[in-house]
Amino acid sequence: MSKDKVHEKLKILSDAAKYDVSCASSGSNRANTGKGIGTGVACGICHSFTEDGRCVSLFKILMTNNCIYDCAYCVNRRTNDRPRATFTAQEIVDLTIGFYRRNYIEGLFLSSGVIKSPDYTMERMVQVAKKLRNEENYNGYIHLKAIPGASRELINEAGIWADRLSVNMEIPTELHLKKLAPEKNYPDIISPMGQIRDSILMAKEERQKYRKAPRFAPAGQSTQLIVGASPETDRQIILLSSGLYKKQNLKRVYFSGYLPVNSYDQRLPAINRPPLVRENRLYQSDWLMRFYHFKAEEILSEDQPFLDLDVDPKLGFALRNMHLFPVDINRADYEMILRIPGVGVQSAQKIILARKHRRLNSLHLKNIGIVMKRAKYFITCNELPAHRIDWEPQRLKHKLLCEMDSKYKKSLDTQLKLFTDFRQALPPLH
């Protein structure tokens, strides 16, 4: 292979792949069999971090950025005039192994534009994974994108070679999907998800019976939703992702703040910056559901379609439910301690263990690592309370906001400023 050509292709195809946010390498502990190369590490390893602060764990690449579809939100849509390229299977294999041996990456994340037909594309992607596993004796992580509309057999084979499969929903509701991506249809996305879920469950059951039964996507499946390209509310998105976790057994739902890549398209909202704060608040809610025992309905009530961008959803919950607080650190159960703003999962577990030995006071809590600046309004511990007033939620929120030096405040505010270019009418007096 000519080196310059590969280099050129790599530039084009990594540029095209960057909008996929998923990059986790966790969940698989595949062992290195027969003195091959590579292992899976259950907690995942990030090998580098780009200037946007996102991790590079997997070698994230498109097989091709040619595409037969014309989705409004996608940079690789058919009608965009962009340089196009296609990797051969061997080229991807060589690059992956070359990077992996130097410990640059944790594995391969292969996605692709659709060429000819979903089946044709999927088959070529599966071929790459198969080649890596069989010819190179590679046991590292492989994440394959399942192309909506590909046949059951191909998805089944993909699951055998890959560690994780994902089907991207992109647009949260069917109505808006129709509008923005008229050539795709909703059932084509949902049905492979169901198939993957069933196969994973079946393979797990098999493996309990027979130790050597083949695995099927041991690291589960994930999906991605674009936030801000269509007018869905946060409540809709959170309920949808909670449904996906419960019904489809997904490992992760990723949110991708919409980037105006095709700003000429009138169907898309006109924004100049990605809605990063909203995306962050959605991830925080996601975390509350996955690690903090929150239910989707608790995060946003019915009369409240959007998340508060000023405060995080956990603090928001606490402010709406002041009657649940203050929580007694020395008595309350784990669930309630998790709900205190300023207490994370690790600190909550530490509190539960430590209070068996002695009654905890605020100094202990501070040393354990609790953010007392927030937590102090919501707890009582083994000493006199620090303040005596009953806070009104609105006032407390204002006070906390004033004290907070949020990293988002200035740099990432999507609100347009009225007076940014404000120039004084008169010259200064001195």
Binding site: H7, K11, D15, K18, F49, E51, R102
Partner: protein, 258 residues
């Protein structure tokens, strides 16, 4: 006033603990013989490291600590923090006096300190899994020189041995001047006297590198550049996850300056 001194190994420290019990003694401090002198007017007692005595103490510890925390004290010791010895000693005194589940008493400053310190060491070991970058040399060996804050190279051996079972590799600790070498069969400790690499950045001399090395580094640099989304630039977040002190070992970060 009495202090015990030991030879700066974990075994040595455990021997000291053994001797404390044996002599029914409670020293003011336990210091390493290799470090700087910290006391002027004290009676110094040199404790010879004795593997059997250390083994007995270690077994005692293993009996008392729960599964996840079995290595707690060893990890904390690897941090080489000043005064860690006495904290371990006081911890062991309480442990051997029959305190159940002592390792979860986070209200106690010693326990919390040891837990947090061992966390720090584990984190540094994790960083060694993240930021080690191999360079392929002409004799088909993969070399990496790096400088961890703590002496964590022994903790990461197993990971690399499993992962790269079919290639020869060498990870060299530039600060402590020793490395581990894997020859597709077993791992051994090595010390390189005639260095063919830059002792600051771990870069192998150009003429010794494999022909493909430059190509892959170039590819990696341009991949790294193109996977960034300009609109989301957040350099603070990048530094938070990938501290500056590692940048000089990373090929993707070196190309920028040149």
């Amino acid at each position: 006033m009495k202090i015990y001194t030991y030879d700066n190994t974990f075994e040595g420290l455990l021997t000291c603990v053994f001797e404390c019990y044996n002599r029914k003694d409670f020293p003011v401090d336990i210091c390493s013989r290799t470090g700087e002198q910290r006391y002027l007017f004290v009676e110094k007692i040199d404790i010879e490291t004795n593997p059997q005595k250390a083994e007995r103490v270690w077994k005692g510890i293993q009996k008392q600590l729960s599964g996840k925390n079995k290595q707690l004290l060893f990890y904390a010791f690897l941090s080489e923090e000043m005064g860690i010895e006495m904290k371990i000693y006081r911890f062991l005194r309480r442990l051997f006096s029959g305190h159940l589940n002592l390792e979860t008493d986070y209200g106690d400053s010693d326990v919390l300190y040891l837990t947090q310190t061992s966390q720090k060491v584990k984190k540094e070991a994790m960083r060694m899994l993240q930021f080690v970058r191999f360079q392929r040399t002409k004799d088909r060996m993969f070399f990496c020189g790096i400088e961890p804050k703590y002496d964590v190279v022994p903790l990461i051996l197993d990971h690399y041995k499993k992962r790269f079972a079919d290639q020869k590799w060498l990870i060299y600790d530039l600060k402590r001047n020793y490395g581990v070498f894997y020859d597709k069969d077993k791992v051994e400790e090595v010390e390189i006297s005639k260095k063919q690499f830059n002792t600051l950045t771990g870069q192998v001399n150009k003429q010794l590198l494999d022909d493909s090395e430059d190509f892959y580094q170039k590819l990696w640099r341009s991949y790294f550049k193109h996977i960034t989304i300009e609109e989301r630039k957040n350099l603070r977040l990048q530094r938070q996850h990938m501290p500056r002190r590692f940048w000089r070992y990373l090929p993707e970060k070196q190309g920028e300056k040149k």
